[in-house]
Each structure stands twice: as structure tokens, then as C-alpha cells.
């Protein structure tokens, strides 16, 4: 397909316009995070201003930011590691030793993901309360792991399916047990796939808001819940909100950019590659 230089130019202008418009809120947030509170609410909006790091230092040293950050890291890493540990053997079994129930099992797992969280909000809340898991990291790690487990299993399953079955059989003939197969054969061969599964799980846990807001108050509140506290009108400072938001979004945005290709597979349960 060959297009004329004019067509190419129009496409480029169109493409970049769309890209900049979509990215504008993020860019504006980052820009505002370097403004003083007075500059932040200035009308007309300022593009040129004296940048300051005061908001960042303020958010980091005075707010609950560091605690929320620690919680977010602990919850997303904890739920991801736990999820991978539970899901890897299952995905291995289904990918290399399928039986007549494998397909139904996978689809059932997918269907558990369809359950609206709000439908089970009350029981989960009460269960957490009774067992003392409310507003604890362990409670949130557990809930987050469970809600992402179907996606982790599916993603691992589709990546494992790409490893030739012969190699697994050869390693069985060579005397490798399940653990040795996972460690010595599958881990190196499906490594990139496992990594992107882990990244997707981290992204989803990091950005999860429903359980984060409803099952935490002070101790275990991750960044999503922390940011939500800025919605109170009296606590509203745009520059500080922007600084806190920038700090909350930046790491996961980079992760997301890194894994965008493999992400599609996880998000669509392998139906679009």
C-alpha cells in the first residue's frame, strides 16, 4: 500500500493530535505538580511558571503518602507472588496434561472473574471483619490475589501452551519431576510470559479501587484509597493532588508501557493475540 506524501502528512498530524489530546490530562497533571498552589489555580492556566518541588516534598514528608506507597507495593507484589505460586502448577497441569474437563475448568475460572464485586461486598466485608483481616495488608493481598487469579491462570496457560509439549516430555524422560520441569525447563522458556503475567497482575492490583477503598481505612490503605481522600473539599490543593497523583501513577504507567503487547492477551483471556 502506497500513500501520497500529503496523505502521510495528514495521518501524522491526525495521529499526533489524537495522541496529545488523550495524553493531555496526564501531562497537565505532571505539569501542575510542579506549580505552586497559587499558580495551579491561576486563570488563564499557566504554561510557563517557576517550577517547584515543594509539592513533592510536602506530599512525601507530611502526608500519608509513604505509608500508602508501601501498602501499594506490598499489596501488588504480595498478591502477584502468591497468585503466581498458586497458578503456575495449575497452568502447567492444564497446558501440558489437558483432560476432558480442562476447557470447562478454564471457562469456569473465567466466569468467576465476571462476578460483580459489589454483589459480594457485604459478605467479604463481614468475613474480613470477623477474621480480623479488615484494614490489614494480608486481607487485601488475599482479596486482590483471588480477584486476579483467573487472569493469572489464563495468561500463564496461554504462554505455557506455546512451549512445545515435546520438550516437557523429553524432560520427563530425562527424569525431571514437576518442580524441576517448572524451574529448569518452563521458567527459562516461558520466562518472558511469566514476567508479563506478573506485570499485569501488579498493574491491576495497583490500580484496583473498589476493594482498596472499602476494605481499608488507615493502616492498609494503598495509593488508590489515599488519593481518594483528596476528594474531600477541605483537603483540596490542586498542586499537591497532582504531585501525589504523579507519584502514584508514574511507576505503573512505565510498567504498562513495557508490557503493552502481552497485555492484550491477558485482558482478553487469550482471545485476541
Amino acid at each position: 500500500m502506497r500513500s501520497s506524501p500529503l496523505q502521510k502528512f495528514i495521518v501524522a498530524v491526525l495521529g499526533w493530535t489524537v495522541a496529545l489530546l488523550m495524553f493531555f490530562p496526564v501531562a497537565w497533571m505532571v505539569l501542575t505538580s510542579f506549580k505552586t498552589e497559587i499558580d495551579a489555580v491561576h486563570s488563564p492556566p499557566l504554561l510557563v511558571f517557576h517550577p517547584t518541588l515543594a509539592n513533592f516534598t510536602h506530599v512525601i514528608y507530611l502526608g500519608n503518602y509513604l505509608g500508602a506507597l508501601t501498602n501499594s507495593v506490598a499489596i501488588s507484589l504480595g498478591s502477584t507472588v502468591l497468585g503466581l505460586l498458586i497458578a503456575m502448577p495449575a497452568a502447567y497441569a492444564m497446558a501440558f496434561f489437558p483432560n476432558r474437563w480442562t476447557k470447562d475448568l478454564l471457562l469456569w475460572m473465567l466466569s468467576t472473574k465476571m462476578m460483580p464485586a459489589v454483589g459480594v461486598l457485604m459478605p467479604i466485608y463481614l468475613l474480613c471483619q470477623r477474621s480480623g483481616l479488615l484494614d490489614t495488608l494480608s486481607g487485601l493481598i488475599l482479596v486482590m490475589m483471588l480477584s486476579n487469579l483467573p487472569i493469572i491462570v489464563w495468561m500463564l496457560y496461554t504462554f505455557f501452551k506455546e512451549v512445545p509439549g515435546d520438550i516437557i516430555e523429553a524432560s520427563r524422560m530425562d527424569g525431571a519431576g514437576v518442580l524441576a520441569q517448572l524451574r529448569v525447563v518452563l521458567l527459562p522458556l516461558a520466562g518472558p510470559g511469566i514476567a508479563s503475567t506478573a506485570l499485569l497482575s501488579i498493574i491491576l492490583s495497583w490500580n484496583e479501587a473498589f476493594w482498596s477503598i472499602n476494605l481499608t481505612s488507615v493502616n492498609a490503605a494503598p495509593l488508590t484509597a489515599f488519593i481518594a481522600t483528596f476528594s474531600a473539599p477541605e483537603g483540596l490543593f490542586w498542586a499537591k493532588l497532582s504531585a501525589a497523583s504523579t507519584l502514584a501513577v508514574a511507576p505503573i504507567l512505565i510498567f504498562g508501557w513495557m508490557t503493552q503487547r502481552q497485555l492484550v492477551r491477558g485482558l482478553t483471556f487469550g482471545a485476541v493475540k
Binding site: 515435546d166 523429553a170 524422560m173 525431571a176
Partner: protein, 359 residues
């Protein structure tokens, strides 16, 4: 010592029986080839022997010990996979040493055994390479080397040559034959290519639809196929199989009317009126001046070392005839064909070979 014994082995996949009771004894140091069309169950049977598929019924014994429930790595067998199944993240040496490493063999001994195997297969210069940097033939040799290093009781080959090009296939075939001669160990080899079967095997097992059709040495199968399936499967070009009816019999020879009307006499006492199928190998047919089967030549293939002619004798299939390379048959020519010597095979209506009374 390694004798493998299959007693009434069966495999059922969700109510479909794919291996329907196989009895076979494979002797120590024997090279046995499983051959048959795709889907006949030969690969499944090999995987049952390897321990990669569960055995649904019957017994599988290694040296008299029942091993149905023994996991693959404890059976002492090594397998060469069709896709080679090399570990792509390991070097050639690591690939070959992997089983020994898992078995806890100390490194010096591992290196020693890998080196010996590598020398046998001329892989010693490639030991540090990864599989991605090897040619198809080299990968094949690494796969074989990985099996040799384990010093298994028996080798299992699953269509090992099917991913190689024609020239390399012949060369590797010869190497495998040499290897069997050197190692003197039991080997089972699965292929759908009857030329590989004929050239490599001590004994060939012909499979069809989950059952053994015939077991025998290559020449036994060639000369005395037990039934129509084996007759059609072994030999290239294929044996001519022509429907016929016994016209008359004098107690020692009988005259048959072939489909299409030609007459053909065989040195056997048969019942007049009996319907049967006669099998004639293309290489056992000669052109004669007159008599025999008359047919018009339809296609001629000059292969250089020989010439193959296809002639219509009025039967459903044209008669395939193998002629010397210098024969100058032409399309459209009317020729007479006769059996060279008395080497026709006869099959009854059920497809089983009719044994000559003298045999």
C-alpha cells in the same frame, strides 16, 4: 539385556479404542520398526512404551518386570523426538548432560560420558553451541546424543527423520543403522516411511487401525505379505492388486480370470469359481511377445535407473510395471505382460493370504 514384552496392550481415549490389544515381544538388541499409515496408533504405542501415555489395558514388561505404572524416567528408556525437543536455553553439552545432572551423576563422569557420545556423533566441536545455532541434521544428532549419554536399556525413535530434507534423511538413516550396530542395544523406531522400515529393521511391525497386521523381517513382509493391507503397504511402487476368479484348476495349477478379462495361471490348487485377489509386484512383471495380460500403456515415467509404465488392462487400477531403464515403451503402445517366475501372491475374499499347499 533388554527384552520388551507387550501383552494385549490397549489404549482407550474417551471411549474410543485406539490400540486394540497388541501382543509383541522385542528381543534383546533387536531393531524393531513400527510402520503404518498416520493415525494407525504406532506413535501412541511408542509413547505408552515410553511411559508418556497411560496404558488402559494389558501388561508392558521390561526384562520380565511389569512397568505399566512406572514413570517414564524410571523405565530406563530414552526417546528421540520427532521435533528433537532440545532445550533451547541449554548448550549442546548441557542438553546431553541434563538427564545425568538430574540423576545426580558427578560432573567429571557427566563430562566424560557427554564427550564419548559427542565423539561418536561428531558433535565434539559443537558442544558449546545452543540448538538455535545448529543445522537440522546437527540438532538431530544432539537429540540422539542426549539419548546415548543415558546408556538406556532401549532407544525409542519417534519419526526422527521426518523433519530432515531428503539427502540428509538417507545419510542419517545410515548413521542410525551404524549406531545400532555399534551400541548393540534394543531399538524401537516409528515411521510411516516403508523405505526406512525396510532398510533399518531386524523386524518390522505393520500397524493398521490400532492392530498389528503382520510382524516379520523385511524380506518376509516383502515376499509373503499376510494380507492385502501389508501387500499394499510394503514395496514401492505398490504391488498390483487385481480382482480375479478361479476359472479352472487341475489339482496342481489353476487358471484365473482377472478383472478386465486376461487369463493368468498360478501353481496352486484352487476351487473353480472362487473369488480372490492376485498381487503382482511391478518388478516381477515382464513384457512378453504375446499371451499374458494385454494392456495399453498410458503413462511412462523414466527415472533413470528404471522405467515405470502404467498400462490399462481393463481392471479398475492400471497395471504398474517396472522395466529396465533402457526400455523404449511408448504411450499408447499395446503390450503383453507376464509374471516373471511364479511370484504372484493370492488373497482370499477376506483379504488374508492364501498359503500355497506346499508351504
Amino acid at each position: 539385556m533388554c527384552t520388551l514384552e507387550l501383552r494385549n496392550l490397549r489404549k482407550v481415549y474417551s471411549n474410543v479404542e485406539v490400540i486394540k490389544g497388541v501382543d509383541l515381544t522385542i528381543k534383546d538388541r533387536e531393531f524393531v520398526v513400527f510402520v503404518g499409515p498416520s493415525g494407525c496408533g504406532k506413535s501412541t504405542l511408542l509413547r505408552m512404551i515410553a511411559g508418556l501415555e497411560e496404558i488402559s489395558g494389558g501388561d508392558f514388561m521390561i526384562d520380565g518386570v511389569r512397568v505399566n505404572d512406572v514413570p517414564p524416567d524410571k523405565r530406563g528408556l530414552a526417546m528421540v523426538f520427532q521435533s528433537y525437543a532440545l532445550y533451547p536455553h541449554m548448550t549442546v553439552a548441557e542438553n546431553m548432560a541434563f538427564a545425568l545432572r538430574l540423576a545426580g551423576v558427578p560432573k567429571p563422569e557427566r563430562d566424560e560420558r557427554v564427550m564419548v557420545a559427542a565423539k561418536t556423533l561428531q558433535l565434539d566441536a559443537l558442544l558449546e553451541r545452543k540448538p538455535a545455532n545448529l543445522s537440522g541434521g546437527q540438532r538431530q544428532r544432539v537429540a540422539i546424543g542426549r539419548a546415548i549419554v543415558r546408556q538406556p536399556k532401549a532407544f525409542l525413535f519417534d519419526e526422527p527423520l521426518s523433519n530432515l530434507d531428503a539427502a540428509l534423511r538417507v545419510q542419517t538413516r545410515i548413521e542410525i543403522a551404524k549406531l545400532h550396530n555399534d551400541l548393540k542395544s534394543t531399538m524401537i523406531y516409528v515411521t510411516h516411511d516403508q523405505v526406512e522400515a525396510m532398510t533399518l529393521a531386524d523386524r518390522i511391525v505393520v500397524f493398521n487401525a490400532g492392530k498389528i497386521e503382520q510382524v516379520g523381517t523385511p524380506l518376509e513382509l516383502y515376499h509373503n505379505p499376510a494380507n492385502l493391507f501389508v501387500a499394499g503397504f510394503i514395496g514401492s511402487p505398490k504391488m498390483n492388486l487385481i480382482a480375479a476368479e478361479v476359472r479352472s484348476s487341475d489339482g496342481r495349477t489353476s487358471v484365473l480370470t482377472l478383472e478386465g478379462g486376461s487369463l493368468f495361471s498360478v501353481p496352486k490348487a484352487l476351487v473353480p469359481g472362487q473369488k480372490l485377489t492376485i498381487g503382482l509386484r511391478p518388478e516381477h512383471i515382464a513384457v512378453v511377445a504375446e499371451g499374458g495380460m494385454a494392456g495399453r500403456v498410458e503413462v511412462v515415467e523414466h527415472l533413470g535407473n528404471e522405467t515405470i509404465a502404467y498400462a490399462s488392462i481393463g481392471a479398475a487400477q492400471p497395471l504398474t510395471v517396472k522395466l529396465p531403464s533402457d526400455s523404449d515403451v511408448r504411450i499408447g503402445e499395446m503390450l503383453h505382460f507376464a509374471s516373471r517366475g511364479q511370484t504372484a501372491s493370492l488373497f482370499d475374499e477376506a483379504g488374508s493370504a492364501i498359503m500355497s499347499p506346499s508351504a
